[in-house]
């Protein structure tokens, strides 16, 4: 009876559905993984001796080098940029706050293409350099090739650091003030505060951002393959494509997935005893310290450099190319349709991801236990798989859903249906949500983790329902984290390629597929207009976000004067 009463009370609060929805979401995200596991079980495992002898030694060392190198770079760039724009006031700071996100707006493989064009011995940079040095032949000046491990790490570092910048800055903005001021009072230097106060406190955020960046690097196939780096992901492809051994490829993919999960769990385990929630009182924004002279210039350069390398240089190159193409090829008439398709499908997927991310994070906050923890981790699996592998894994579940829809339709109307899921684009939204859900859940979760549970308890004591706590306290407080999540997911959806290629309906082009079509033909410059359109539409939300986050904030958590919370 008691449990029944609890349940009915929860229904009254509007929260009882949360765990059920969370479970369903986790099941939907897990579906492609399960379908891959079924595939993998069909394989004999005979490829492993070959892999162990000839492929793994190189692939593992390449993969580790790439991940360690990229990891160090994204953490160094991401955290220091986030700290500079939060803790200091210097010219350009407000611009940098959002401009530091720009490298996210362009597909990594396009940046790789652009950099090879720019830095090739016969490209503009080396040609100008030779002219300046009075050299005539490329052989007289041999510079390191970007098509190398080093080149790949640099590129990933400067393109993927925004994930770390993003998550860390939110952390710095929301909770550091008191501790930093204590540090300052105690006479700690700027660097000391950064290294000994800010970084350790931001660790959950750094972990979230870095794991996103590293999964991107690990699962990338376009850029790293183009630059000659052979990660495990490349082995998945050659096993599948050249040896027609999809089960074997699924086996490799699942083992990689297990390793990724293990790494994430180890990191979480390592900080299991630490709590990062801010105090409920007087949490407020850090007052930035004004920098002058050389220090201001230094801060400016430290923020400008990653934006220049990760965005300005390749975008400028694309822009010049796009102008040249426009002159002789004109503007494609289908560009508008492609923009419409891209924005529509990405916006829908973003809304769904956000809604489900909220459900998952609230479920976990309201009932933190082993079950909800597993649900949350399972719902994040999609990002840990290479995009094509996820898309292949989705084919089976999508077919089952279409079968079910057809059966229901036959039962109800006597008429069968075609492939509703793929023909309607729902398959695409499913794929995007399955892939990017972790970004929205992670952002919401880390936003929530900064709100002390005593807030919830206080509100509940005052008679507020659980749903009311979420609506009236949590949501307003984590709205910056929500906006961030929306932006990241939206941009990632716009760029998404492998699942879009494989699962889209007939005659459905997005900016990313159009760009890829040109790139596949070797005329990616022709696609530069599409690439710039992705950048442009990725930029708009960024600027919007910057404007909202700059609006003056009411002092943090002092909310009792707002009606509703107090009397409930």
């Amino acid at each position: 009876m008691i449990s029944l009463r609890t349940i009915s009370a929860r229904f009254a609060n509007g929260t009882a559905g949360l765990p059920a929805v969370s479970l369903l979401v986790a099941a939907l995200v897990a579906a492609p993984v399960i379908s891959l596991a079924i595939l993998a079980a069909k394989g004999s495992g005979d490829l492993w001796p070959h892999l162990a002898a000839y492929v793994l030694p190189q692939a593992i060392s390449d993969t580790l080098l790439l991940l360690v190198g990229t990891g160090v770079l994204v953490i160094v760039i991401g955290t220091s940029a986030a700290w500079l724009v939060t803790a200091y006031e210097f010219p350009g700071r407000h611009f940098f706050q959002w401009a530091l996100l720009l490298p996210l707006a362009m597909p990594t493989y396009i940046i790789a293409y652009a950099y090879l064009d720019l830095l090739h011995p016969i490209g503009p940079v080396q040609t100008a350099l030779r002219a300046a040095l009075g050299l005539s032949s490329p052989r007289d000046l041999i510079l390191p090739d970007i098509r190398s491990m080093g080149g790949c790490i640099l590129l990933f570092g400067f393109v993927l650091y925004p994930y770390v910048y993003f998550s860390t800055r939110a952390m710095f903005v929301m909770q550091m003030a008191n501790l930093v001021e204590v540090g300052r009072t105690l006479g700690a230097g700027s660097l000391g505060i950064f290294l000994r106060v800010a970084l350790p406190l931001a660790r959950p955020a750094i972990a979230v951002g870095t794991s996103l960046a590293l999964m991107d690097a690990l699962n990338d196939i376009g850029a790293s393959e183009f630059l000659g780096v052979r990660t495990m992901t490349v082995s998945i492809y050659s096993t599948w494509v050249n040896r027609s051994n999809l089960p074997g490829a699924a086996q490799i993919a699942l083992i990689m997935l297990a390793l990724v999960i293990a790494l994430i769990l180890i990191e979480r385990f390592a900080r299991r005893r630490q709590s990062y929630a801010g105090s409920t009182q007087r949490a407020r924004r850090l007052v930035p310290e004004r920098l002058r002279g050389v220090k201001a210039l230094g801060a400016w350069l430290a923020c400008a450099l990653p934006i220049f390398i990760g965005f300005v240089a390749p975008a400028l190159y694309l822009f010049v190319e796009a102008l040249a193409r426009l002159r002789f090829a004109g503007l494609s008439s289908s560009l508008l349709t492609q923009i419409g398709n891209t924005v529509l499908i990405s916006a829908l997927a973003t809304i769904v991801s956000l809604a489900l991310g909220l459900v998952l994070a609230f479920t976990a906050r309201m009932m933190r236990n082993a079950v909800t923890d597993v649900i949350l981790r399972v719902a994040s699996l999609g990002y840990a798989l290479p995009g094509t592998v996820l898309a292949i894994g989705l084919l089976g579940p999508l077919a089952l859903m279409d079968d079910a829809i057809a059966s229901v339709s036959e039962l109800l109307t006597g008429r069968t249906t075609g492939l509703v899921m793929s023909a309607s684009g729902v398959a695409l939204i499913y794929a995007y949500v399955a892939r990017f859900l972790t970004i929205s859940t992670g952002n919401v979760e880390s936003g929530l983790s900064r709100l002390s549970l005593s807030l919830d308890h206080a509100a509940r004591t005052l008679g507020e329902s659980a749903g009311g706590v979420s609506r009236r306290i949590h949501l307003p407080l984590i709205s910056p984290a929500l906006a961030s999540a929306a932006l990241l997911v939206f941009v990632d959806c716009m760029k998404e390629l492998p699942a879009t290629l494989l699962l889209r309906p007939l005659n459905f082009e997005t900016l990313a597929t159009h760009l890829y079509g040109e790139a596949a033909r070797g005329t990616y410059e022709d696609g530069s207009i599409a690439a710039l359109a992705i950048v442009l539409f990725g930029l708009l939300p960024m600027i919007l976000l910057a404007r909202t986050s700059r609006a003056p904030k009411k002092a943090g958590l002092h909310m009792p004067q707002r009606e509703g919370v107090a009397h409930g």
Partner: protein, 320 residues
């Protein structure tokens, strides 16, 4: 689902080529072509879609993919006198499940300035005299897997492995990038010779890829290599009619159009490919490469060795 006047095309071929083909077909027949352009996974998608799949024509590149479509049981046999007359027997499935539509030859690009050789065999690529001089794309790329498969078909697996090892030892840089990067790297003095497909020569030299690529194309001489037996390795693009095609008749019509003089002309004009149809027109840039004598081995014979070829590429560490 099945309207009389449309055909649904699943293709891995770029929109830049498919669009002109589809437009010409629609203009001629009034049949609308609905397209989805994808990459890896075409066969898996059709397989998963099963009986309700809207796919009519499956159009792909590389012999391995054509054979895979037949082996997966997602294609249906087509008895068409038009297709059989246009496509030579070694370029189509014995059981009529797929037909090659266009050909590309695997060629050797050499530096105009630095290489005097005017004729080479594929076997020569392993000659130590080219140490540090060769550029090539990934050994696991389907074009190179097909080349090594053909090598194995002619000389056996052990010889194939020795050859791959020899070529690897001669590489000037990592085996990566595309075929066009070979020409660009030759111009940039990173290497002297390299391996690339025939249509890239057309795409570069015609200016279709822009003025930069025209310079790359001008920096190379293009050799038409052969195996020691005197024939050149060709790969194919091709198509099949899907097993559950809702518009089967239109699918056959579309494929017949692709091997007609008009269709074949688009292949060579838009994408600089060799026609499959004897006597069909050829783009002047491609004609200038020389008289192609394609390997007489059936494509399906060559495709049998591709797993061995892929394993060899791993064993010799071709991409490391």
């Amino acid at each position: 689902m099945a309207h009389a006047q449309e055909v649904n095309l699943y293709t891995v071929r770029e929109p830049g080529l498919v669009k002109p083909l589809a437009e010409a077909f629609t203009k001629k027949t009034g049949i609308k072509v609905n397209t989805v352009f994808m990459n890896d996974g075409l066969a898996e998608r059709v397989e998963a879609e099963g009986a309700r799949s809207p796919a009519d024509v499956l159009m792909t590149v590389d012999i391995a993919k054509l054979v895979e479509i037949a082996e997966k049981g997602i294609a249906q046999p087509v008895s068409s006198p038009v297709l059989e007359a246009a496509v030579p027997a070694q370029l189509r499935d014995a059981d009529k499940r797929w037909f090659a539509l266009s050909l590309r030859a695997r060629l050797i690009y050499v530096s105009k300035d630095r290489v005097k050789d005017t004729a080479m065999n594929y076997e020569d690529l392993a000659d130590p005299k080219w140490k540090g001089k060769i550029c090539i794309r990934s050994g696991q790329h389907s074009y190179n897997i097909a080349l090594l498969s053909a090598y194995i078909a002619h000389h056996g697996e052990a010889a194939g492995e020795a050859w791959a090892k020899g070529v690897k030892a001669n590489l000037a840089r990592k085996a990566t990038g595309g075929d066009r990067e070979v020409a660009r790297d030759i111009l940039g003095n990173l290497c002297d010779i390299g391996v690339g497909n025939s249509y890239y020569v057309g795409l570069m030299r015609s200016g279709a890829g822009g003025p930069d690529q025209e310079k790359w194309g001008a920096a190379i001489n293009v050799l038409l290599p052969t195996f020691k037996n005197g024939s050149t390795h060709v790969n194919a693009s091709g198509a099949a009619v899907a097993k559950n095609a809702p518009n089967r008749d239109n699918a056959v019509k579309f494929m017949e159009f692709l091997v007609s003089d008009e269709g074949q002309k688009i292949y060579t004009e838009e994408n600089f490919e060799y026609p499959v149809k004897a006597g069909a027109q050829m783009h002047p840039i491609i004609k200038a490469i020389g008289d192609l004598k394609p390997d007489a081995l059936a494509l399906s014979e060559i495709a049998k060795h591709r797993k061995a070829a892929s394993l060899i590429m791993d064993r010799v560490g071709f991409d490391n």
